[in-house]
Structures are given as C-alpha cells and as structure tokens.
Amino acid sequence: MNSRCLTKPSRPVSLQPDTAMIENPDDLSALEIAQAVTGRKMSALGVTEAALARIAKHDSILNAFTDVTADRARAKARAVDAAVAAGHNAGPLAGVPFAVKNLFDVQGLSTRAGSKINRDRRPSPRDATLIERMEAAGAVLVGALNMGEYAYDFTGENVHDGSSRNPHDVTRMTGGSSGGSGGAVGGGLVPLALGSDTNGSIRVPSSFCGIFGLKPTYGRLSRARSFPFVASFDHLGPFARRVDDLALAYDAMQGPDTEDAACTTRPVESVTPLLTQDIGSLRIAVAGGYFQNNVFPEASEAVARVAEALGITRVVEIPEAARARAAAYVISTTEGASLHLDRLRQRPDDFDPAVRDRLLAGAMIPAPLVDRAQKFRRWYRAQVLELFKSVDVIIAPATPCVAPKLGQATFVLDGVELPVRANIGIHTQPISFIGLPVVAVPVPLEPMPIGVQIIAAPWREDIALRVAYALEHAGVVAAPRPRGF
C-alpha cells in the first residue's frame, strides 16, 4: 500500500463557533490561542498569566528558564487585548506566549549565551530581529531559556545555570544546546520557543523532548542580534508541539534583514497555506549507510515507523556523510575558537572546563586542515544537491538514541564505547553542515520519545513541513504532554 494516501484533510483547526469564554489555555496550541484571543473568547493577559503560572509551577523541576520577563509580558498582552478591543488585526500569533534561548538579545537583559562570562555584558538595547518579528505578529515573550555554554553542547547540561531536565523523565537530558527550549515546549510551559542549531541544537532537543523542531535553510531566518557560535552554519528556528504552530512561527519570522549578511533576500514564502497539500507525488527515500549504522534499536524503530507510514521503499546514500561529520567537527571547533580567542586568553577559568578545553584545542588546529575541510564541504554540498534532483525528501534518525541520563558520560554504539557528549549529533551534523532545511518530528515511543529528521533541498521547508503535517495527522508522530505537566 502506498500510505502516501495518509494525506488527509486537515484536522479542524478552527475553534467551535460558540461564544463561551475559554477558561484554561494550558492545553491549547498556538493557533488555537491566537484564534481564541482574536475571537475574544480569551484575553491575551489571561493566556499570559496562565503561562507564567505554569512556569512558576514546573520550572523549579525543569530548569528551562533563566529569566522570566513577567512585567514585559503583561504589558505586551495588554497591548494585544487593546488592539483586539479596538478592532485591529492583532496578528496571527495574537497573545501566544513564547520564550527564547538565552543567546537571543532581549532588550534589558545581558545575552549570556549559556556562559558566566557574558553576564558582564551590558543589557541589550534592542531585541533580536526574530523576537521583534514574533511580537509584531502578536506573540508575547515570557522569558529566556537555559542552554549549553556558548551553544557548544548536545546535552542541555550547564555548569553555571544547572542542567535543563527532560519533562518525560527529569533524570534525563533534554539534549542541547537549546535544552531549555526543548524542556519548556515539551513540558507545556509555552507552546512556542526559539532556539539555534549549528550542528543539531534544535533537532537533538526536539528528539529527546518529543517535540517538533524546524531548522530552516541556512540564511532563511535572520540571526541579527543573537550570539553566534559558528557563523558559517549557525541557524535559528522554532520549536512547537504541533506542525501548524511550527509553520505559523516560521512564517512570522521570515523576510530579508540587512543586519545579517547571510540572510537571504528571497521574499517571504509562507508555508502555512501549503500544509494540507497532498504529498502523494513527493519522492521520499530513507537515508542508508551511515544513517542506518550507528543507531540504537529505538532510532531504527522510529525511522521504520515513519518509512512504513509514508510507504517508502527507496534507500539513498548520502555520500561521504562520515567525512562530512568530521569536517563539520573541525570547522566548528576552529571557528568557535576564533570567536572566543580573547575570552580564552583573558578569562579561561570562567568557562565550563569541558567547553574551554575543546576551544583551546580548536585554536591549535593547523590552517591546512581547516582549508581541506572547507574544500570538502563545497564538494559534499554539490554531491547532495545532485542527489536532490532525484528525491524530494530524505528521512534519517535525529539522534542515535533516546535521551541519556543526566551526567551520563558514555554509551556503547555498535560495540564501541563512545563519549555521549561528542556523539549525540552524529546524524544531525552532516545535514546542517551544508544548510539543508530539516523538520525534526517526534515518534512517541515508550517510555521515551525519539525524533526523525525530514530533510529537504535548500529553500524547500514547505515540503518538509507538509510531510511532517501528514505524518502528524496520520498519528505516526505526535508530541503529547508528558504525565505531570
């Protein structure tokens, strides 16, 4: 059976046309909140207070937030309510609470980027571009989120702020580096969060926390006024518990920005209206070789479920993926070292020692190795683009395993004991290395969820999101709230 027929009419996303006020927004999606606020069934202030109450109740366990911007959030919510009352368009995200990884500039806060050192920076005079765009669409910023130091992390552990904890099992990692983003959305504290992804930092927490994450094409979303890690493959993107919420946030944030030199001048290409389009004609394949090796059984099971639902019979080989991962490793550590060289000289004791020692090593790598890695990158990108002439979507694991225990140092993969920290991103690094758009979708295995990557050609976020939407509506992928949250 070609279960591409799983593409069904969209679920009824409109609220029932009754006039009753909705009292409890805790289980509503971003889309449902925005419709309720603009329909005057719920106030933005009420939604905001509920989000602040959830944060107060659960964050002492999850440790997702490093800053809660309650006063600012209430002021913004009142402004949204006033706009609605005046009959103005309050935006597609009217009254939707969201939070951002603490490497985004938030006016009035020091952009700590998970570090101790950056706390000495002066408060940011202006929000990051993506926060401005989310708020222009009516969303309400409620705080900044925990992350791995300087985004050089796959675990969500942080020696300065404490580890973010996985809402499905608080003894386990959220994944990183956008660990607070994963925990906050996974635990239902907010319906939307923003994070960054250089080597997997959106897709890994999405996988471990059982939520959806979008790493757009390199250059699609502006990074202006965010703290970088590896500028040549840093991406920003959203997390959500539903695909339509992911698309709404993504659409709100698109558009050129002269303040990020890498940001595309392409016009906004809205994906929300396209989500329900049939996917039957798409050519979809599973990534073989490197992506089928180096996995625990649960990762194979997750990919198999998605492949079966989509009726995939084709396997494609992404050429030289292992070399791509190695080259990404070299460029990350050397570009990161270059960025932090002065801090390494002046304040080495204030780094997380594990991050510092990797960056120090990166500072010592001879230039010819970096040059070779960059040359390989160009070759590899050309090869993968050639592959996308014969396929529209490639399916691959997001992580080799479900969330490890906090503090777990090693795991045994294919009979080899490997360090957890360095190897969680083995399936994400070869993809972000060349800037491809990816939606990470959660397969709700028991007892822990795990993610699958839906990978498309550059600028085809719409295709990846359509496949994710079809899988969600077929019940194959989902992000249910964990027990207790």
């Binding site: 990404a328 020692p353 500072a363 790598i365 890695a373």
Partner: protein, 44 residues
C-alpha cells in the same frame, strides 16, 4: 621540556597565541586536539 611531540606543539602554540594553559588542563586539551586532528585527517 616536553618529551612528547604533541605536548611540545601545545606548549609552542599556547605561547605563540598567548593562551594561558594550566598544567592541569593539558591532558584534556591534548585529548581534544587528538580528536580534532583525527577528524581533520578524515574530513579533508
């Protein structure tokens, strides 16, 4: 003076770049350097 060539390399580069590397960190820095160099050899 470092007996191991990689130890000598770390000493030389840290001096050249004015990177203050304490004795206690050298083992971890060396281990990381070996991993990155191996990746560099594989990824070129």
């Amino acid at each position: 003076m470092a007996a191991d060539p990689l130890d000598a390399y770390i000493d030389a580069v840290s001096n050249a770049l004015a990177l203050p590397i304490e004795e206690a960190w050298k083992r971890a820095v060396k281990a990381n350097l070996e991993v990155v160099a191996e990746a560099g050899a594989a990824g070129g």
